[in-house]
């Protein structure tokens, strides 16, 4: 079962952070959260922070699943879990990219 988890964990974390950032955007817009931090709008700062945290989490997963200590004894599972770890990282960077490029709450 641990091996199955190794394969599933990174995309699962992507799904969770993707939903979380989508929900955060909904909350920010629905509740009229406003303000600014160092000249940047608070809304953008919050979302970029969440984006960065999600990426950091995925980088840690890639590192963890590549490290001897946490990777599987089976070469096959090692390979698949590293590929899915990269899938999680790329998906996080890619799908949440609008956080930095796009107008919010419109």
């Amino acid at each position: 079962m641990t091996d199955i988890l190794r394969i599933l964990i990174s995309p699962l974390v992507w799904l969770a952070s993707f939903s979380a950032v989508y929900g955060l955007h909904g909350l920010i817009c629905g509740h009229g959260i406003e303000g600014d931090v160092l000249g940047f709008p608070l809304q953008r700062v919050l979302m970029v922070a969440a984006y960065a945290a999600a990426i950091l989490l995925q980088v840690m997963l890639v590192a963890g699943l590549s490290a001897q200590r946490f990777s599987s004894p089976s070469a096959f599972v090692r390979f698949v879990s590293r590929v899915t770890a990269w899938v999680g990282l790329v998906a996080t960077v890619w799908s949440l990219l609008p956080v930095v490029t796009t107008t919010y709450c419109l």
């Binding site: 890619w94 990219l97 609008p98 490029t101 796009t102 107008t103 419109l106």
Partner: protein, 181 residues
């Protein structure tokens, strides 16, 4: 987009046909999976995504000085339009707008989900009970444009249509003054 899609389709088909002629003895995972399966789609899709985000950003209904606001209220199976510029003025089935000026249509519904769609002016936007969605449209030329409801709404859906009349300056002023029905 159509050209790009055709080129990709043609490329895949050529690879398929060649499979029947050539024969690789060495299984080349790196070529097939990494280069063709990963790098190629990622490059194409990244370009497409950037384009989509850019165009989407341009279509946003931003605040402007000379935006005309109208309201579209859908019901089974008719649209009722009202105008911010004239208090109490409503029209049924015909939306009057000025040409050459951006118009924000506030779309809502009083019964089931409908969708406001004037193919030549903009994309579609749903009318959802309890929500008001704003669609930016703009007619470059005065004239009559056909509109349809584009969300299935039961038995009257087939015939559920409306028209948009875009007026030039003079006509629009007379509409506002109540001289055009």
């Amino acid at each position: 987009m159509l050209v790009g899609a055709s080129v990709i389709f043609g490329f895949v088909m050529v690879l398929l046909v060649l499979a029947f002629r050539k024969h690789d003895d060495a299984p080349r995972e790196r070529l097939w999976i990494v280069k063709l399966g990963l790098v190629f789609p990622i490059a194409v899709l990244l370009a497409l995504l950037a384009y989509g985000l850019f165009v989407g950003e341009r279509l946003l209904p931003r605040q402007g000085a000379d935006v005309v606001s109208v309201k579209a209220e859908g019901r089974m199976w008719a649209w009722r339009f009202s105008y911010a510029d004239v208090e109490g003025r409503t029209t049924q089935g015909v939306l009057h707008i000025p040409a050459g000026v951006p118009v924000d249509v506030a779309v809502t519904s009083v019964d089931v989900v409908h969708s406001f769609w004037v193919p030549r002016l903009a994309g579609k936007l749903d009318a959802i009970p309890g929500h008001v969605n704003v669609l930016r449209i703009e007619a470059d030329e005065p004239g009559t444009y056909h509109g349809r409801s584009a969300e299935f709404s039961g038995e009257g859906y087939d015939q559920f249509a409306f028209t948009v009349v875009a007026h030039d300056d003079a006509e629009w002023r007379s509409f506002l003054a109540g001289e055009i029905e």
